[in-house]
Symmetry: C2
């Protein structure tokens, strides 16, 4: 008997935009129905309990609602309902859970026990939602759930102004970048290519860092207040954002607040003046003199990102350092009207810092998307309200592990998929930054040894899962690349070298996702399997989409109207190892 | 196979006072040993992987530690270890868990899988503690873990200055208080009785509200800045705290910040000026005119505590209201040097408010004890850092349910007991406010129908469990009382009417707890049962205490050196239904 509920995120929360309280419960497949009894904790009616009218008893006043299946896989169900809170905004509640064998149990704060009317009337052990405070309610920017992202590594996207390119820039045709290579991509190039980005159907751009730095990736910031001279300047960034906005495209920048670049004047001052530097407490220096070079890891005498000597770690608990960074985050919002901050190495920065960071940003612009880079369990950061979302590598890995054959069982895949969606509240799931590859991984096509079907299958699944999907530049035209630096090759603009079939596929896929976005984001998802045919049905209101994957090798006939196939084949037929999206 | 760990409170945290990271893991009884492998996430050594020295591989550098059993009951074990974090303050870690049948599994962020050396060398899936930030680390006041509390309902403790008593005060001998009765107890009386309190061994006093209010309980505050005129004044409170401090006794007050009293000038102003009142947004008024009386619950047109018309709910999101309350909390710390605030109906006030409240208090006095009144699962408030502790009714109920016979199985009791201790980190468990009864419950002796052994057994258990125990005034002399108002009878000072045997028992019990406080607070606890004899062994360093309960009716001979019996019986013999504490 498996039942799980907690009166907190992600299984219970207040959706303030819709004035609803959402309740979820996870059960095994033996459960046939779940009901919730809810009401004000203090509300009792006097009732006559027996034939003798002089004996009265107090009975809790409650309403009932029935939970619906939101996700089901082969061994579990996520049940869901939403209710309008009572006028008093206080709630107690408990669940009545009915099993296939007819048994009924009562699930409360005290665990599972036998169902009796008595246990409902005396809500002593019920779950408790003491008071609904809007100020405590989770919130995410509404626009994010409608956004299709495109990740750009600016140094490698397009050279729009060769006159500002680094002197040693490689030829754009050299597709073997080294760690220290420069190619001359810049913000002018991105501006020039906005129509291309728009033509894909993209509605949000995420750029890796654009501020002054000596490296091509710019994760070692030399000046947080200056756009890198090889990318453009503040006006260029302002123009980029403004033109993107005109095209209905949001812009997110990358905030590198875990560590500074060693060329930054603050760190240079520390190296020069050591203990006398006014910036000495901006960093975690373990002893003076600070050594800018070290023989072995243990003799490094200040904190860094990883063991990178050019990336000293910020001491964000120092009030002046904290203010400097938060001011920078606000500055680019005020100056250029950016829409989001992606936070590099976000989990190595304190919660305390992110709390102040969020408060400062909210003061200057509503609905800025706060996206943490986090590779592990993000529960604390999301449920704690620090970030709207994280780079959703766990969902991505679940998808690619399946299609790359690392975890080949479709039933397990289905279970893992809903497991990932269940990690967050619906509110948060809808804005998670879903991705399959990035500047920090090998490109998927390369991971798949060039098998394009794997890429298409994977992206089809990712694009039709809840969350806000992202495509890494060049994926749409079949670019390849091993791990960094190879995954950061210059974008291929020569149509003869582009995979135009892949490009067409991505355009169609994005169009489908946008057309059915409301369905995808709100869908109940059920999984069924009939021999090789594995189907995920997404249903919302009167619409249903089905994702059908043929796990076998023989072709299968499809009855439903096929919207998109991952293979160029006869519509209505699903070849082996191929996925289709159908409207049913 | 049951294994539970999460890289967050209560199962993992940084103990900043001792510079240790604590790891805990919960398992079933089939597990025989648990080992942790931990190290810096970025630290790898190049190793030669095979006979060909030209092929190298990177291997994660880690250390190992063995977990010890902290709690064990009949069906589970809590394992624990602490480690000194590496200089870089970053950690990845995983567990190797060995079973009775020789199987070994690897527990990581990715769940349970087969143990291989490979999975340790590549810490990709390991649990992650990204960076140890002191500012984020949980913290509690050190003094609380050494405190034995005494709860006083001031109106009923002692009348030290009859000249300020309410005119209609009852005779102190009238032991049938009504809801509206006054008796004349005051702060002068508490000052006068400090030597008595000290003689019990008490080191902390918690007083229910003392501020101006028309009721005897004063939970409807009329003025947050004035001590009630029938209790004394600010100087009296100052003297009380000062004299208590001289005797080594801390003082905690009761903060009623969920709701105001309707006689407070702010609410009176709202009633008088309605929409024009400058205080109208200090409350949650649903419509004007506010009705001070109502026919039925649904026509009450402002938020209140429960449905109490004399307790309008504060709108703590209003900045002025918020400031007024927080200033009051700080005021009494600055003026009278109080040591703690107990927060009434704390769970119906927003997290946002408590965050500001805590920050303001920390600025004015270190180590103020913040205790929330909370009757349900307090995880969010404790792990979120809002409160140091809660009124630990769940632990109290576990103990009294057993001794009152509501849950009579000792094995289940043992499991529930450790379950309650496991709810919190060790840091938090040590300061939870443990209690068996209070002004909000019937007195335990009355719940036990006058059976004193039940009271003694229950308190013995409660006093020897981790946490900071509290005794409700009069319990030590055998006072009885049904639910409010009966549980608030005037304290019996006439020795002839006191249960002096009970008094002696409490003095001894408190003395034992104080003598063995370090052992109790740090103990590993193991439970064994031999027929009727149920034993809980508490062990720390070289000391061991044993709590022995005879669940049968025949007397059992005890071999251990007996320190205290709950009944006046032959040392070394344990009568039926009786508990003993032994030093072994």
């Amino acid at each position: 008997m498996f039942l799980q509920h907690l009166p907190s995120l992600p299984l219970c929360y207040y959706d303030k935009k819709n004035n609803k309280v959402i309740f979820k419960l996870i059960s095994d497949k033996e459960v046939t129905s779940v009901k919730i009894m809810y009401g004000d904790p203090y509300r009792f009616d006097k009732i006559s309990q027996c034939d003798d009218p002089s004996i009265n008893k107090w009975q809790w006043v409650y309403e009932e609602a029935v939970l619906q299946e939101q996700y089901s896989s082969s061994d579990g169900v996520m049940w869901r309902c939403e209710i309008t809170p009572p006028q008093t905004r206080r709630l107690k509640y408990a669940f009545a859970v009915t099993y296939k064998n007819g048994n009924r149990v009562y699930l409360s704060d005290n665990g599972i026990s036998e169902y009796t009317d008595e246990c409902i009337y005396t809500p002593y052990n019920h779950f408790h939602y003491p008071f609904i405070h809007e100020i405590d309610a989770p919130d995410v920017p509404a626009w994010v759930g409608e956004t299709i992202w495109y990740q750009i590594f600016p140094e490698r996207f397009y050279n729009g102004k060769p006159s500002i390119s680094p002197k040693n820039a490689e030829s754009w045709d050299n597709d073997k970048p080294l760690s220290r290579s420069f190619y001359g991509g810049d913000l002018y190039g991105i501006i020039e290519k906005l129509p291309y980005i728009k033509s894909l159907g993209i509605t949000g751009i995420y750029m890796t860092p654009v501020f002054k730095s000596p490296t091509n990736h710019k994760y070692d910031t030399q000046d947080y207040y200056t756009v890198d001279e090889h990318f453009g300047d503040k006006e260029t960034l302002k123009e980029l954002v403004s033109k993107a906005h005109d095209l209905g495209i949001k812009v997110m920048l990358d905030a590198v607040f875990n560590h500074i670049g060693s060329k930054h004047e603050f760190w240079q001052d520390v190296l020069q003046h050591q203990e006398k530097s006014k910036y000495k407490d901006y960093f975690h220096v373990r002893e003076f003199p600070v050594r800018a070079e070290y023989k072995d890891r243990d003799s490094l005498n200040y904190d860094t990102f990883a063991y990178a000597v050019n990336m000293p770690k910020w001491n964000t608990e120092n009030p002046d350092a904290r203010k400097y960074l938060i001011d920078a985050a606000v500055y680019w919002i005020k100056e250029c009207d950016i829409d989001g901050w992606r936070l590099d190495v976000s989990d190595e920065v304190s919660f305390s810092f992110w709390r102040d960071f969020n408060a400062a940003i909210a003061e200057h612009k509503k609905d800025v998307y706060i996206l943490g880079e986090l590779w592990h369990d993000p529960a604390k950061w999301i449920s704690g309200g620090y970030f709207d979302a994280v780079m959703n590598y766990p969902l991505g890995r679940t998808i690619t592990n399946f299609f790359l054959g690392k975890q080949p069982d479709p039933d397990i895949f289905a279970k893992q998929l809903t497991g990932k969606l269940m990690k967050f509240s619906d509110l948060h799931t809808g804005v998670q930054f879903n991705l399959l590859d990035s500047h920090d991984t090998a490109r998927l096509l390369t991971q798949a040894n060039g098998d394009k079907l794997t890429v298409k299958n994977s992206f089809l699944f990712m694009m039709l899962m809840k969350g806000t999907p992202c495509i890494y530049y060049g994926t749409e035209i079949g670019m390849e690349g091993e791990h960094d630096p190879d995954c950061r090759r210059p974008m291929i603009w020569d149509e003869k070298k582009q995979d135009l079939n892949m490009l067409e596929f991505f355009k169609e896929l994005i169009a489908i996702r946008k057309k059915y976005n409301k369905l995808v984001q709100n869908a109940k998802i059920s999984y069924t399997r009939n021999k090789s045919l594995c189907c995920w049905t997404l249903a919302f209101e009167n619409e249903q989409l089905q994702i059908c994957y043929n796990s076998g090798t023989d072709e299968i006939k499809l009855d439903n109207q096929t919207l998109l196939l991952t293979d160029n084949n006869v519509i209505g037929m699903l070849p082996g190892k191929t996925t289709a999206v159908c409207l049913i």
